[in-house]
Amino acid sequence: MKNKIQERFSFAGIVFLLLIIMFSANSVPVHAQTNISQTRKSIKMTNVTVQQLVDNLGADFKYSFFIVDEQVGRTTVSVEKKNATIREILDEAFQGKDIIYSVKDKNITISLKKSSPKQEKTSKVISGTITDENLQPIIGASIKLQDTSTGTVSDLDGKFNLEVSDRGKIIVSYIGYNTQVINISEQLNYRIILNENTKALEEIIVVGYGTQRKGNLTGSISSVKSDKLTTAPITNVTNALGGQLPGLKTKQSSGIPGADASKLSIRGFNSPLIIVDGVETNFNNIDASQIESISVLKDGAASIYGARAGNGVVLVTLKRGSSSKVSVSANGSVTIQNSTNLIRSGSSGQRAEWEREAHINANLPASQIPWTLSQIQKFYNGNDPEFLNTDWFTAAIRPWAPQQNHNVSVTGGSEKVKFYSYLGYNNQETISRNDGGGYNRINLQTTMDAVIIDGLTLSSSFNYIKENRDFTAMNLASSNYYYALYDSDPRYALSLPDKTMLSYAGSSYGNAVFVSSRKLAGYSRSDNHNLRINGSLTYDIKEIKGLKLKAFVNYNGYFGLSKVFRKQPGFYSYKADIDEYIFERKSQDPTMLAHGTSYSEDMTQQYSISYENTLNEDHQLSVLALHERINYKNEGFDTQRGNLTTSVIDQLFAGDPTTASNGSYASEMGRSSFVGRVNYGYKNRYLVETIFRADASAKFPKDGRWGYFPSVSLGWVVSQEDFLINSKIIDNLKIRGSFGQSGDDGIGNYQYYAGYAYDMSYILADKIYQGLYSTGLANSRLSWERLSIYNGGIDFSFFKRKLYGTVEGFYRLRTGIPGYRTESLPSTFGASLPLENLNSMDSRGFELEAGTSGKYGDFNYDISANISWARSKWVSFDEPVYTDADQKRIYGYSGKWTDERYGYVSDGLFTSMDEIAALDYTYVDLGGNEALKTGDVKYLDMNDDKKLDWRDQVKIGQGTMPNWMYGLNMNFKYKNIDLGMLFQGAFGYTSYIDLESAPTTLKYENRWTEKENSKYSLVPRPGSKNVANWWYSDYRNHNASYVRLKNMALGYELGKKALETIKLSKLRIYVAGTNLFTLSSLAKYGVDPEAPEGTPAYYYPQQRTVSLGVSLNY
């Protein structure tokens, strides 16, 4: 029964979605541009309102009607005409009425004929053109006579005609632009330039389940628009966010094509909830160009997403159509990527030198010293065939790799139907020189908003993303790839006389060229298809102004197919003197073919009722009630076979059937929620927002399944007060405060079930049995953690935005953080403990954003900067009750910053045996100081107890996520030239850097040598097995801070005249780049500041890109 219902539900949902798509598709011809004024129609309507008449006519004549006066709309008219043009019909309908109309292109404006003789006498018709600052016409701007209902809208060329009285003012407004009030003078023709108002109060900000006027926001919400995301071509949009939004921290830890996303963190919290067009979705694979805006909900405003919102919410809104003529825009760019910081493999001379020193230093038999000094010199010379210096690294890795990003979009529509279509293509190749593959993506999006019948709007969108990753069989994210790169020994030849044989390079993977090539090593491929279809019906209930009903359904499906085909050739060396090939080994991993699929889907339904109205001019009220249901499902299977007989056919059947294996997985989850929100504003001056959400999640047991998350926020727009409203200094000043509760349910499903799963196998009587293990104790009380956040902020704008910005501070208390009671419960307990809501943490921080914008003649500028700080403390943490003060200090959590690091304090390296002999303390774990030698790390006896032991550890740094993060965004425009720059930086974190584990030039060049005997060498004595050299200390844990030119673009836009000749509305050519320049305190360790901790060579480096691109609009 259960399944049946689900089936029916899914079926209904799919039918609904199909309907939406069909509706949308059918609407497309509406936009065909035909000469409609010749259209004729027969009509008979008696005693209908003008509104009803034009509604009827609109569909047939493809005109947009603007009724500028409500009174006009309510006037009743009658008409009966056969085969008449629009003019004939209107002329008859309005005969004898005080109604006039004007036709301009496909817009018809209907207004009241002013019969007052006085007015008639003094009236005149003015005309004008409305443009933006770039002199682009603004279409559909509203031009109204002040204090009247007379008005019109601008046409496609931004032009308008309006009958006005002699004196008075006209008000020109358009969404996103500053409204202008213009005195009517003698002149009849006006050129009106509207200033864009991207940061101003009228800006519409996307908030949870809706939008809000920026001026009315009370929550802490930062927002960024599409143009800031597309400064330079990037494949992963998360990499465009660093430094853009105050309070949003980013860290990119790898440059692997298709997996180079930055880790996002709002105010230093864990991963935020990402909502794309209303639905939780990953947005790593969405093109930046598809995005209209990104909003970040940082405080109680996030409570509207309830149990998932505790770490903040990132709201991504994709572009949709607008009511304008069809326009096409196309962007194309080619990019070269190269590593921000390429660590090279050590040369044969360096390696030999190290081995010699290590051997001698370790006091190993002199007869086995690996190299003589003259042999080492031969390696350095590199011209003796017995002493090679092969550059495997350069043979495998190229200095630059290409990337391409192209997209084209079409948008357009009328008041009734709007559409938007997008097609994007991205290709990013790897830095492997030899057939290393890359990442490909196609993004396809179609959206449609159609007024089906009056008041009922159907919106639909169809998104399809196809991703293809095709790399070598060696996983680029695994350190094995880099081991092979660096461990390939330069003392071996790059190739052998017989080119069909692979040359051995001392690595367990053969050699570096092998691992980097799909042709040689095989491939690892994955194709992912993501289909997101959604549709909504919105019904404006006419009878009650501002009341809307909305139903929204979204299907999100992922289908993935992965295939790994691994080859295992043999590697040889060649002995020239005997002309013989010696088989050295095969590469480490056996031949294998793995094939797997994965499928996951989620279906979201939202039903809402909302009301928004201004009552008695002063009371702005908006109310939302919403019910949401989400159903998740995922499953998949993997199969593989080994011992492939040949590497010719990459199919399972070519593998050895006795090695066949397979596995599968499946899971389900569901959520149900109720959301309520009330916004109230009085005179745009006093603002209140309250949110309430009730969430239920199938992750939790029935009893504790429902959680309730309220929030309230207040705002006082001081600048709207009478004493400031006319201030010349203060444009805007708002004080905000909020409190909200939300949750975090990011834990595995069904922790409240005790279960058994398969693990291990064991042979009895030569038969293999699968074993079963207990997945651990269940906790029937497990629930989400709870987060309470307090936020206060001030928004300001002075001197007409010569200085604007926001200051904001927050405090967050996080309780019931799931943890394992492994610390306070001894391991004798023996079970895998259940997750329990054990721990609590509080965070605090602030953000400051300030900017200035303006212009001097043709020079426009907009500069904004932001800086934020956030840090967390454990309020309580499940841990032993330490009785030893040092244990509490070093190992305890409660009451301490969450990112504190403890370790030994070093004082460089020992430079003489006398220095060791003079130590007045002993290394306890080495059983004394006898094992110490010059070149070993010297630690300090911090507590002066004459013993160097664990008690000497002190705080030596803080975690890897920066406390401080800042950005500086600068945009300049001079005539046709524009320049945008984003600097981004961070400080207040540390990074543990081990230069020794990888055989890179860094290791050799920074090593301690007896000859130089430097106290400050970054790598201690070669050959030392002294464990103390590896103790966690500030010797390897370094303060990190950096500033980098995250992206920059220089563009040139073609002038209007040139554009006219090539019939384009816009053409911009640009050069742009990312990660162009970096200043970092880690530079001396040869490390990118965003590199993962540990061994800095063993990862795919971040990429610097330089692009050349063109974008055009038609």
Partner: protein
């Protein structure tokens, strides 16, 4: 306008469809629930089999199981999260079975294995512990077994099966405690399943005395020896004989600790000395029972009385022939390796120890010391000690140097000149290990680098090639015992399919001999030792003493995870493991094609082994004590 009336029902219909509880009432799709498992005989048995696998200490005291890259529930040591060395390197499937070899006086760690005990060998295990640990994993397995023992009595298994399976679980539990007590001394003895609301004494248990833990192991194994069948329906399960073997081994250990160890005032470590004979007597009786009544014997199937060399292959086959008469209990290996897709039914011994080139890398992760090699007597019973000055004073052929030794030498150790398939033999015929490191040219100068050669003769033999090219120092020897010549070591780890003998009859004889000797029954001791020597091909001893028993034990059971624990229980580790060891270097003389032998007295370089007295017991560690204040640390940590 009227269209709304068509569309609204669709919308409402959907709300209707979705208003069902199955949105929120979902079940896990990838797990069995408690209720299902304990009612299903197959699943109950599957759970028990996992506990066999979760007792990796049976395989040379490996302490974890390799199950996946994410780790297994077995990787419970707190260090495991970040420490690949621990959870991966110590597993029974990778390098775990080699660890007690290299921390003893048997062998030196060379390179290759991800886990090594080099720091522990040089400075002793430190107060924070970290290696050789069998605590978190032990209590995990013990809890599982206790749960099994609690739940199975009311399960639908037949009474016979029920009794046997319960006894098997108790055997495994006893083994877990045995492996703990020999490490830590007394540990908390848990035989029930603690719950979150259990009394404090159970959640924060104090340590039992060392004696109590040994007695527990002995009482349990004794009792289940009366329950378990002599022959199980499926080979590989614990039998009566396995229980008796564990009993015998544990009693012998307890006896030695009583006799040679110190009793701490708190009795958490040490056993009263006056109980020594009692334990020796128990060991004596149990081993005697196995010898007399058991279906086991020393494996001699491949001995040709006329060919002393046949004894080499015979001794190799003790470890290669599956289910042979000498094996009392085995962990069977077979099936697929881990990659692709296999489970935990293979191990990695061959890849760790096989010589080049039939192994990737260099094999030879643990290199036996010359001192161990010298313990192997000549075939006529002469001491195997070399006259080191003489050895270094002349040139040798390998035959001259290594001829006429105990056949077990050739079956346990490989060196320069040992036959091995496919070995690159520049000086020997084909298929012979070429281990020289250095070449003396006719003009008397010596070439040592791996890229040097003279007239086509490489300065470094193939087996030393890897060592020389990366600065690794070797002892000149490798481990032959358990090497399967047919193993494919060119693929990945875990390709060994030889069975591992958890108990073999030769150990029983040696345990018997030692217990008998301790009880003054020298005749029994002599006979047992001579049985071992006889099979090996050595002449009988005429008299017996403790040194001879220990010597025979060291040779016969080399690399089988006895030596390190033996030295500890005899309290000899402080002297025997605090010293330098030696290795040799073969230098090929181009003219004569003989070898100059260089003996290096401090083959570990500046990492000279040290065994501090405190290391007779591993530390409880301050981390565990801060979790449980009722635990008391062992002395001197």
């Amino acid at each position: 306008m009227k269209k709304i009336y068509y569309i609204l029902p669709i919308v409402l219909g959907m709300i209707n469809f979705s208003c069902t509880d199955d949105l929120l009432d979902k079940q896990p799709l990838d797990r069995y629930t408690d209720a299902v498992v304990w009612e299903d005989p197959a699943l109950i048995d599957a759970f028990l089999l996992t506990q066999y696998a979760y007792t990796p200490v049976m395989i040379n005291d490996a302490t974890t199981m390799f199950s996946s890259w994410n780790g297994s529930p077995m990787n419970r040591d707190p260090r495991a999260d970040s420490n690949l060395r621990y959870w991966f390197g110590n597993s029974a499937q990778t390098f775990g079975p080699g660890l007690t070899i290299e921390i003893s006086d048997e062998a030196k760690y060379t390179s290759g294995a991800w886990a090594n005990l080099v720091p522990e060998k040089a400075w002793g295990v430190t107060a924070d512990g970290g290696m050789l640990e069998w605590w978190e994993n032990a209590y995990y397995t013990i809890r599982n077994l206790n749960e099994f023992i609690t739940k199975v009595p009311s399960s639908p298994l037949s009474n016979d099966i029920k009794a046997t399976r319960l006894a098997e679980a108790r055997f495994l539990r006893a083994y877990c405690y045995f492996a703990m007590v020999k490490r830590y001394g007394g540990v908390p003895l848990l035989t029930v399943v603690p719950q979150l609301d259990s009394p404090k004494e159970l959640l924060y248990p104090a340590r039992n005395t060392e004696q109590e833990v040994w007695d527990f192991v002995l009482n349990e194994t004794k009792e289940i020896a009366g329950i378990l069948p002599s022959v199980q329906d499926e080979y590989g399960r614990a039998t009566r004989w396995a229980a008796l073997s564990l009993y015998g081994r544990a009693a012998l250990y307890a006896g030695s600790i009583a006799k040679y160890g110190e009793l701490n005032e708190n009795k958490l470590t040490g056993i009263p000395a006056d109980l020594a004979d009692d334990y020796f007597d128990k060991a004596y009786k149990a081993t005697e029972e196995i010898i007399k009544d058991g279906p086991f014997d020393l494996y001699q199937a491949d001995i040709n009385a006329n060919d002393v060399n046949s004894r080499i292959q015979n001794f190799k086959n003790v470890f290669l022939v599956k289910r042979n008469i000498e094996t009392i209990m085995a962990k069977q290996h077979g099936g697929q390796s881990f990659d692709p897709g296999g489970g935990t039914t293979t191990w990695s011994w061959d890849i760790c120890h096989a010589p080049r080139p039939s192994v990737w890398g260099q094999g030879n992760y643990q290199a036996p010391y010359l001192e161990l090699v010298e313990e192997f007597e000549y075939i006529d019973g002469r001491s195997g000690k070399l006259d080191r000055d003489y050895v270094q004073s002349r040139l040798w052929t390998m035959k001259e140097l290594w001829a006429d030794r105990d056949p077990r030498f050739y079956a346990s150790i490989w060196t320069n000149g040992t036959p091995w398939r496919d070995a690159v033999a520049s000086n020997f015929g084909k298929d012979t290990i070429n281990f020289h490191r250095g070449l003396i040219k006719p003009d008397g100068t010596m070439l040592t680098s791996f890229s040097n050669s003279y007239n086509g003769m490489p300065a470094v033999g193939d087996q030393s090639y890897f060592h020389a090219s990366t600065g690794i120092v070797n002892t000149g020897f490798g481990i032959m015992k358990y090497l399967d010549p047919s193993a494919n070591n060119m693929i990945w780890l875990m390709e060994s399919r030889t069975d591992y003998s958890i108990f073999r009859f030769a150990e029983t004889l040696l345990n018997y001999a030692e217990a008998a000797y301790e009880l003054g029954k020298t005749g029994d001791a002599l006979n047992a030792v001579n049985r071992i020597r006889n099979r090996a091909g050595l002449p009988d001893l005429q008299s017996i003493d403790m040194e001879k028993i220990r010597h025979e034990r060291q040779v016969e059971l080399a690399f089988e995870n006895h030596r390190y624990w033996d030295l500890r229980r005899w309290r000899q580790a402080e002297t025997k493991l605090t010293r330098s060891f030696s290795g040799i270097q073969y230098v090929l003389d181009y003219n004569t094609r003989k070898y100059k032998i260089l003996i290096h007295d401090e083959i570990d370089g500046d990492q000279e082994p040290t065994f501090p007295k405190r290391c007779y017991y591993l530390p409880i560690t301050k981390a565990r004590i801060s979790q449980n204040k009722n635990l008391i640390e062992n002395p001197d940590y």
